[in-house]
């Protein structure tokens, strides 16, 4: 059977109650109970393997190179926890059926509770620790939603936030710890980690690793000093408190400690951290519980003390201590869940949870009184009940510390007896105060309502469990605890000797002392409460909220300082960061001049470089006067063209030349709508700062390019040069690279070009500049829109230009030219017609469907590539052949020509789409017809 079924059933079916949230609560409860029951039944069906001590592991790879896999594990320990999660879960679902009667959000509750159940099962059944962390975080998130279930109440929101901050923070620590653990053990698989204990404990990061993992476990299990969130989580509905904060979620940390016990425990640090934290939590919880007037508050602090007790036992760490810990763990779940249910019923019947108001309920709720007596007595540790046994086991363990330090040997027995005394006191208090102790005082609902009979059923089942575990502990031990202890310690153990436990005298005396002391403490409660009331009240939630508010305020200020919405500012930050980082990286580098000799420049090149540099700097100097700046930019572009021509790149020179023309035309168009002058800098210091940044950037580029160019290099281009003619059938290597070797890149690039053109089209479509812009003085612009000479010349030039572009296109494979350049030349020629004759004139005479042209181009290029697939070659493989045509002679035809035709078509379409749409903006309110 796939183990994943057990986890997935509640997770997947969680959606059903949420969908059916408008039906009755009963139906939702059934929809939630069925998957929970199914998981429980599946788990029970695995009992034979579990009792035989088998470990079931199922693997499925996810991201193997990160060590992350979907691996599940079921052994005695996982099984015990899984049974607890599903078993108590079913009873909680039943209880919630009555609790949420008539409540509109019951569907949400059932959905979340199933999600939570699935996440918990995931934690205890994960073989891969990284996989477990996912479920770990999931429980934190779902628990946040459940605590904040009644989100309209402030206390619920605050409690939820507090628990999320603390458990979520712990989750991050745990992640770090698990990463260290996995690094140390060489694997994230539990099967590997559990046998690598020696290696892990010898690791140099052991202390850090252990502290981080325990931080995760302690925050989840509400151990001192992270216990504060648990009492505040009581603002959740009672079924949530009963399930998450007593029986399951808080046990996840304990599970982790038990699970990793073989790998991490048995060191002084483990003993110190776990025992001390357990002791503190035990005492604080037990002591404060007595003084809580809220029933749920009392139960919350009592839960803390029991969690502390289990932690303490795990810190002691012997196999008998582990047995006691796990035995108490299930006892606590069976004791605390019915008490929480009782608290919920009392709350709903009387409208109050304050024990100063609720008294003498035995008159109104006799059935509840009888059933709650059992878990309350078990919590106090009365004989023949499970609580008695586990408390006695604790006392026995506290007396058998052999390897522990001296302070622990003497302190722990006294400490646990004292805590036992307090726990007797609060157990008496919750039972006596609620059901006896006179009459009710000012109850909001008087007389108390009788709860439905059904609600008592889960309490009855759990109370029976208390009695059975107390009377037949050896069976409970053999069935549940022993496989778990074996799995947790990795050893095989004899059964726990309960007979001998009865005979031990000292633990018995300690129990009696605790019982008597607790009774006396409870008797003296009235003066004690008076003293407690006089103590200054410290509300942890207020302090926490204060810290949170300060943190949020602080972060907001920092964020605003960095992110105030100014793009100009962001750009400065980015550039400055890049400069600082690269300066930092280059610190100490001195060999700027490489080994290659510097060639001497000739006079023409020197002059060209000077003009180029001056024009470039001139753009910056005159940028406030936009038209001159634009003209200087054109000069720059032309000299860049010359640079390409000078350094043996005719293709680049041709491309740059055509692009330059178009770019200047577009910017001219834009400038006619924008202000002609830029205003002066409002803050002069900015200018200085920017000059410094720009200067450093320029210096860096100079140094880097100089350093690279004076170094010898080995290019992969030799391959292209050698194979261009035999492989690609063309002598112009640049073109062959574009259409053949790197054809796939080119395909991508023309697609980008097409997309950019479409974006321009989309933007200009709804833009009506003339209507909306403030009127701009037109004196810079020629009044005559279409000069006669220009239009006449343009008409003459068109056929010649088209012929030239056809020639450039055809010869491209062998001589400088090709699709890109021919496309640009065609576009320039057609642009000239637009400029000379005007948009309307040109549109009447020319093709205006540019978008289909782009599409056709990309389609043609792609289908050329696909054609090679048909012949069984990889995508975009080209083929060529030589044909002999009469008169013309030898003629070569390559399939790359078709690809280049696609490039040509796309370039023409895209360029003209951009230009025509920008040009359209010139005409008042645009021509009626859409261009594109």
């Amino acid at each position: 059977m796939p183990l994943a079924l057990i986890i997935l059933t509640p997770l997947l079916f969680a959606i059903i109650p949420a969908i059916g949230r408008h039906t009755t609560v009963s139906r939702q409860a059934v929809a939630a109970a069925l998957p929970a029951l199914l998981s429980l039944v599946l788990l029970i069906s695995l009992a034979p393997q579990m009792l035989a001590g088998e470990t079931l592991i199922q693997h499925s790879d996810w991201i193997p190179h990160l060590g992350l896999s979907l691996s599940l594990r079921l052994d005695g320990l996982s099984w015990l926890f899984a049974l607890l999660i599903t078993g108590i879960g079913c009873l909680i679902i039943l209880y919630a059926r009555c609790y949420f009667e008539g409540h509109p959000s019951a569907g949400r509750f059932y959905c979340l509770i199933l999600l939570f159940m699935g996440a918990m099962l995931g934690i205890v059944m994960s073989e891969n620790l990284l996989f477990m962390l996912i479920f770990w975080e999931m429980t934190s998130l779902v628990s946040f939603l459940l605590i904040g279930f009644g989100w309209h109440k402030r206390s619920a929101r605050r409690g939820a936030r507090m628990s999320l901050v603390i458990t979520g923070g712990g989750g991050i620590a745990l992640l770090a710890g698990v990463l260290l653990l996995g690094q140390s053990a060489g694997s994230f698989m539990l099967s590997d980690i559990l046998v690598a204990g020696e290696q892990i404990k010898a690791d140099q990061h052991y202390s850090l690793m252990l502290s981080l993992i325990l931080l995760g476990a302690f925050t989840k299990s509400a151990q001192f000093p992270f216990h504060l969130w648990l009492p505040h989580a009581m603002s959740a509905p009672t079924p949530v408190s009963a399930y998450l904060h007593s029986a399951t979620m808080v046990k996840a940390g304990l599970y982790l400690m038990a699970r990793l016990h073989p790998a991490l425990a048995d060191t002084d640090l483990w003993f110190l951290l776990v025992v001390l934290s357990g002791m503190m939590t035990l005492m604080i919880g037990a002591f404060v519980a007595m003084f809580m007037h809220d029933i749920k508050g009392l139960l919350a602090y009592s839960t803390l003390s029991h969690l502390g007790l289990i932690t303490l036992l795990m810190g002691i760490g012997t196999s008998t201590a582990m047995a006691a810990a796990l035995f108490h763990l299930i006892n606590h779940a069976v004791i605390k869940a019915p008490l929480f249910m009782m608290a919920g019923i009392v709350d709903q019947s009387t409208g109050s949870r304050d024990m100063r108001q609720i008294n003498g309920l035995y008159r109104y709720l006799p059935g509840l009184m009888l059933l709650s007596a059992i878990p309350a007595a078990a919590m106090a540790g009365l004989p023949w009940l499970n609580g008695y046994l586990s408390k006695k086991m604790l006392f026995a363990e506290s007396l058998q510390l052999v390897t522990a330090p001296d302070w622990a040997v003497t302190l722990i027995p006294v400490w646990v007896t004292l805590a036992g005394l307090f726990s007797v006191a609060y157990s008496i208090r919750i039972f006596h105060n609620v059901f006896f102790n006179g009459r009710p005082v000012d109850l909001p609902i008087y007389p108390p309502r009788r709860p439905p009979r059904l609600v008592l059923l889960p309490i009855l089942i759990l109370s029976t469990g208390c009695v059975l575990a107390g009377v037949f502990p050896q069976y409970v031990y053999a069935l549940l605890i022993q496989p778990a202890v074996n799995a947790a310690t990795g050893l095989s153990h004899p059964t726990y000797d309960f007979e001998q436990l009865t005979d031990l005298r000292l633990p018995l005396q300690m129990s009696l002392l605790a019982l008597l002391g607790g009774l006396i403490f409870y008797m003296a409660r009235t003066p004690l409460f008076a003293i407690h009331n006089r103590l200054p009240e410290v509300d942890a939630k207020e302090i926490f909220e204060w810290i949170m508010q300060r943190l949020i305020h602080f972060s907001q200020q920092r964020v605003y300082q960095l992110e105030n919405g100014s793009l100009q500012r962001y750009l400065v930050f980015m550039l400055a960061t890049a400069l600082i980082l690269s300066t930092f990286a280059m610190t100490g580098f001195s060999g700027w001049k490489g080994s290659v000799a510097i060639t001497r420049p000739d006079a023409m090149t020197l002059m060209g470089a000077c003009i180029l540099s001056l024009a470039a700097l001139g753009v910056a100097v005159f940028h406030r006067h936009r038209l001159p700046a634009l003209l200087l930019l054109g000069v720059t572009g032309l000299f860049v063209t010359l640079a390409f021509a000078r350094f043996s790149a005719p293709d680049l020179a041709l491309t740059q030349l055509s692009v330059e023309v178009m770019a200047v035309v577009i910017m001219m168009l834009a400038l006619s709508f924008l202000p002609q002058q830029s205003p002066k800098e409002s803050q002069p210091y900015r200018k200085v700062r920017d000059i410094v940044i720009a200067g450093i950037a320029g210096l860096g580029v100079t140094l880097f390019s100089f350093a690279v160019m004076t170094r010898p290099f080995d290019s992969i281009s030799d391959y292209f040069l050698a194979n261009s003619l035999p492989g690609g059938g063309g002598t112009n290597v640049v073109n062959v690279i574009l259409v053949d070797f790197r054809g796939f890149d080119t395909l991508g690039e023309i697609t980008v070009l097409g997309i950019a053109a479409l974006a321009v089209f989309a933007f200009t479509r709804q833009l009506h500049l003339k209507e909306r812009m403030a009127p701009i003085a037109d004196e810079h612009w020629v009044a005559e829109p279409h000069p006669v000479i220009l239009s006449r010349v343009a008409h003459l030039v068109l056929p010649i230009a088209l012929l030239v572009s056809a020639y450039i296109f055809l010869r491209g494979h062998n001589m400088p030219g090709g699709g890109f350049i021919a496309g640009l030349i065609t576009a320039v020629a057609l642009t000239l017609q637009y400029m000379a004759g005007g948009l309307v004139w040109a549109q009447e005479r020319m093709l205006t469907h540019f978008r289909p042209l782009i599409g056709a181009g990309i389609l043609l290029a792609t289908s050329t590539g696909l054609a090679s697939l048909v012949f069984g070659y990889p995508f975009l493989t080209t083929t060529y052949n030589h044909f002999h045509w009469p008169v013309i002679g030898e003629f070569e035809l390559a399939s790359a020509l078709m690809f280049d035709l696609g490039v040509y078509t796309t370039v023409v379409g895209a360029t003209l789409l951009i230009l025509a749409n920008l040009g359209k903006l010139m005409t008042v309110a645009g021509p009626g017809k859409e261009v594109g």
Binding site: L567, Q568, V572, L612, V619, H623, A643, L652, L674, A756
Partner: protein, 112 residues
């Protein structure tokens, strides 16, 4: 030649970065164009500077590196598409926001 080329690149970059940091969209467009010239030339320079040796088989005995040329060729065309897109963006912003400040409004000016 290399020193000259490197210095020219420096001039283009300095001017481009300075304009990029200006407050008005048109200056930023000018800066972007200059910067893309600088980047194209920089990439081109990575193939080293050779004169009179175009990468056409059989034409000359020694060839310039064709790979950076091919890369830069497409970069020029895409740079054009990008420039036009930014131009339209600037126009759109100027129409929508009624000013051509890159942040949409000048923090030191009062709103009209």
């Amino acid at each position: 030649m290399e020193i000259l080329f490197a210095l020219t690149l420096g001039a283009l970059t300095t001017s481009g970065v300075y304009l990029l940091l200006r407050a008005r969209t048109f200056s930023v467009i000018l800066g972007l164009t200059l910067l893309s010239h600088a980047i194209n030339l920089y990439l081109f320079g990575m193939g080293r500077l050779k004169t009179e040796s175009p990468a056409v088989i059989g034409l000359v005995p020694d060839y310039a590196d064709p790979l950076p040329q091919a890369l830069v060729l497409t970069a020029i065309v895409i740079g054009f598409a990008m420039t036009s897109f930014v131009v339209v963006l600037a126009l759109k912003a100027a129409v929508e926001l009624r000013n051509d400040h890159v942040d949409g409004e000048n923090p030191n000016e009062d709103r009209p």
